[in-house]
């Protein structure tokens, strides 16, 4: 029996997941990952996706017709909570697959597109996103990657950046400019691109943490069938709004729960080791302060999820999402900063690829910029909160 079939009894469901993870997941997977490369870890994530899929735990939140079981929020939280508790591998490589893809195709795609792409995605195809451009940055709508109609194809020339996991992806959701008339928002179209299309070059961007999660995409005369367009021509901005508003609350939830467990484990091992920082008034209190702020942010995330489930308007949940992003990512940076100061010189030693299963000085601190910058910089979040949340005029 697949574990997902036990979803109707919360406590049974929870312990089934817990037991299954213990059995299915090698106990020392993080040590293996630390010795391996980024590629190894992506392979490992694909394997883990497959294992979860076998239990119905890969895309249970999707509607039944596309391979999910329409899992309710409470049960989704149980899944995420148990994954976090076990510090099981995250499915970073499937972020777009799991969230943005259904968030786009279910409301905006046609039947054919849904049937063609969603079922394989539910089994683990990797998707990436080609939205940002080097010149555009936070001003997404000013994108310039040009698509020209040629019969039943578009011919694309241009450049994309910050495309996460595109080295590993089979497909890409792509924003292109099909018209330069009217406002910058009015001439954008939304396409699906196969990553093996000729003319596409993927160049990894090396990050400050040594990894290369993101890539640049260079498109030279890339031909994409018109049938791969989602929504009408020049109506891609509206489709992209659906993509971008695909609910990220559960990702924040899982990140918060994982952070809770890493902090708790850090504290526990400090207690066991009688670590000197616990005897230091300043450091000890700072830890308590951060732990308490984390608790509040976890409550805030739960409230967002609950409001969302109860049908709160997207405008409201979007502001709460921005508020949570700003607070939680800044909190992760504050935590990283404290651990750097606690660990001292030893916190500066580099390890291999680290799967964020425990708090490690500079690694966490440096990683934290991935949170505060990507997914909309915190500066953009502050603009949104002030303008849409507090009703302040644009500057």
């Amino acid at each position: 029996m697949m574990i997902i079939e036990q979803k109707n009894d919360a406590s049974v469901f929870r312990s089934a997941i817990r037991d299954w993870i213990k059995e299915a997941l090698p106990n020392d997977w993080d040590a293996l990952a630390e010795r391996g490369t980024e590629d190894d870890h992506v392979e490992f994530q694909r394997w883990w996706f497959g294992e979860r899929a076998k239990q119905g735990l890969a895309v249970p939140h999707w509607p039944v017709e596309f391979g999910g079981v329409g899992l309710g929020l409470a049960e989704q939280m149980i899944v995420a909570d148990e994954m976090a508790r076990a510090q099981a591998p995250m499915l970073d490589v499937h972020t777009v697959t799991l969230n943005h893809l259904p968030g786009t195709l279910i409301p905006c795609g046609n039947k054919e597109q849904q049937q063609k792409y969603l079922p394989p995605a539910s089994r683990g195809t990797v998707w990436c996103q080609g939205f940002s451009e080097p010149g555009a940055g936070s001003d997404l709508a000013s994108l310039r990657c040009r698509a020209v109609r040629d019969g039943d194809h578009y011919v694309i020339n241009g450049q994309k950046i910050w495309s996460s996991m595109s080295r590993y992806a089979e497909h890409c959701i792509l924003l292109v400019r099909t018209s330069t008339e009217g406002t910058k928002h009015a001439g954008i179209s939304f396409l699906i691109m196969d990553m093996d299309t000729p003319g596409l070059e993927v160049r990894p961007i090396k990050q400050i943490d040594g990894q290369a999660e993101f890539s640049e995409l260079f498109l030279t005369d890339v031909r994409i069938p018109v049938a791969n367009r989602v929504g009408e021509e020049n109506d891609g901005w509206r489709v992209a709004q659906a993509t971008l508003s695909s609910e990220r609350g559960l990702l924040a939830f899982e990140a918060g729960e994982r952070s809770r467990h890493t902090m708790e484990a850090f504290y526990r091992s400090a207690l066991d080791a009688k670590a000197s920082w616990l005897e230091d008034d300043e450091l000890r209190r700072e830890f308590l302060t951060l732990l308490t702020d984390m608790q509040a942010s976890r409550r805030f995330i739960r409230k967002l999820l609950k409001d969302h489930e109860e049908g709160a308007p997207p405008a409201v949940t979007a502001i709460a999402s921005s508020q949570i992003k700003l607070f939680q990512t800044t909190l992760f940076q504050r935590i990283g900063d404290l651990i750097v100061r606690i660990e001292g010189v030893e916190g500066h030693f580099r390890r291999g690829f680290t799967p964020r299963r425990r708090l490690t000085g500079m690694t966490d601190f440096i990683n934290s910029f991935g949170w505060t910058i990507s997914g909309g910089t915190n500066e953009i979040m502050r603009n949104l909160i002030a303008e849409r949340g507090l009703g302040m005029p644009r500057g």
């Binding site: 809770r260 708790e264 504290y267 526990r268 207690l271 616990l278 008034d281 000890r284 209190r285 308590l288 302060t289 732990l291 308490t292 702020d293 608790q295 509040a296 942010s297 976890r298 409550r299 805030f300 739960r302 409230k303 508020q323 700003l326 607070f327 500066e379 979040m381 502050r382 603009n383 909160i385 002030a386 303008e387 949340g389 507090l390 009703g391 302040m392 005029p393 644009r394 500057g395």
Partner: protein, 350 residues
């Protein structure tokens, strides 16, 4: 319950919005009205002080959550009066084994009826060194709760002669100094100090979280209206970003209050950890928010006639009360260490 809470909260907010206008508060602090007494009268009528008490004791039965919404709204309105000390002390008296004592029962009835107020020791335990101590409360308070031996509390009568009004920066509340050698112990509440501290922490956190929201709302409104260099200062990005940060922290403050509410009862480490940490983190955040709200008002922020300074002074007094946040965090750490050693899960969110 959530719905009832929201309704009661709304009803409190409506009364306060009507009574505690900026004009009325300024008139109060300048000595031109007795808004505190008027609010006390209305509070008695509406049962606010007994909001947490079970219905059979004349309360509304909302427990700690009721305490939270009352003080969130009083703080948001910067309402003057002895509500904080009185409601915390009342809850303790009503829960104590002394509820049956005739004198105490009368005292409880008087407080619920609005004819008496109570005081509490501002820095709990300061009196143990002997001599005089400072009480949060009015000079007319009927009695005061102070720390006793070990985990006990003592309810003492307040003799007129031994009381001195203390002039404090927060003008919306009253602090008195009393010589304990002249104070008559009425009764000892055995082992109730931890609960008292939790309740006091919760009330201080709620009042501060409410005040942070109140001062921020007023500041955002001012920023939209005040023009400089030809546009509303709310359009200046540097100020907008500060307001956005404050808005987020103000929300976090309220979540911290609810964390305290959920963990107030019982003897587990969570009942020491969360109320004390809520008071520490909330008063610190509220202090930062209100400090910057004075600054965001520019020149008028430095004048007495605008509101932000009233909130700032109130929040900073909240911060100083019960115990310094440094000490509260140390005590919270002891509770956390105990929990983690015993494998108790104090981080789970319901």
């Amino acid at each position: 319950m959530d719905l009832e809470l929201a309704e009661v909260r709304e009803s409190i907010a409506i009364v306060l919005e009507e009574q505690c206008t900026s004009l009325a508060i300024h008139a109060y602090v300048d000595g031109h009205n007795r808004l505190n007494a008027e609010l006390q009268r209305q509070a008695a009528e509406l049962g606010w002080l007994a909001i947490a008490l079970p219905e059979e004791q004349g309360g509304i039965g909302l427990g700690a959550a009721g305490m939270a919404i009352l003080h969130l709204e009083l703080g948001r309105a910067c309402a003057p009066g002895a509500f904080l000390a009185t409601s915390v002390a009342l809850e303790i008296l009503a829960r104590g084994p002394v509820a049956d004592d005739e004198g105490v029962a009368k005292l409880i009835a008087d407080v619920i009826g609005g004819t008496a107020t109570l005081a509490v020791e501002a820095r709990v335990g300061a009196s143990l060194a002997g001599g005089s101590t400072w009480l949060l409360g009015e000079a007319s308070a009927a009695a005061a709760l102070i720390a006793g031996e070990g985990e006990d509390l003592v309810l003492v009568g307040i003799a007129d002669g031994a009381i001195e009004q203390v002039s404090i920066w927060d003008e919306t509340r009253s602090m008195i100094s009393t010589d304990l050698s002249a104070a008559a112990p009425i009764i000892t509440l055995v082992g109730m100090r931890p609960l008292f501290e939790g309740l006091f922490a919760l009330a201080l956190a709620a009042d501060s979280a409410g005040a942070a929201r109140g001062v921020l709302d007023r500041t955002v409104a001012y920023m939209k209206e005040r023009e400089q260099f030809g546009r509303a200062i709310a359009a200046f990005q540097a100020l907008k970003h500060r307001a956005a940060d404050h808005a987020v922290h103000a929300i976090i403050c309220e979540h911290l209050v609810w964390q305290a509410v959920e963990n107030l009862e019982g003897n587990g480490p969570e009942s020491r950890l969360w109320p004390l940490m809520a008071k520490a983190n909330v008063t610190e955040k509220a202090s930062k928010i209100s400090t910057d709200c004075v600054q965001l008002h520019g020149g008028v922020g430095y004048t007495r006639e605008y509101d932000p300074h009233l909130f700032l002074k109130r929040i900073r007094l909240n911060e100083a009360m019960l115990a310094a946040n440094t000490a509260l965090r140390d005590r919270a750490n002891v509770a956390l260490a105990e929990a983690v050693r015993n494998g108790a899960d104090v981080l789970e969110v319901a």
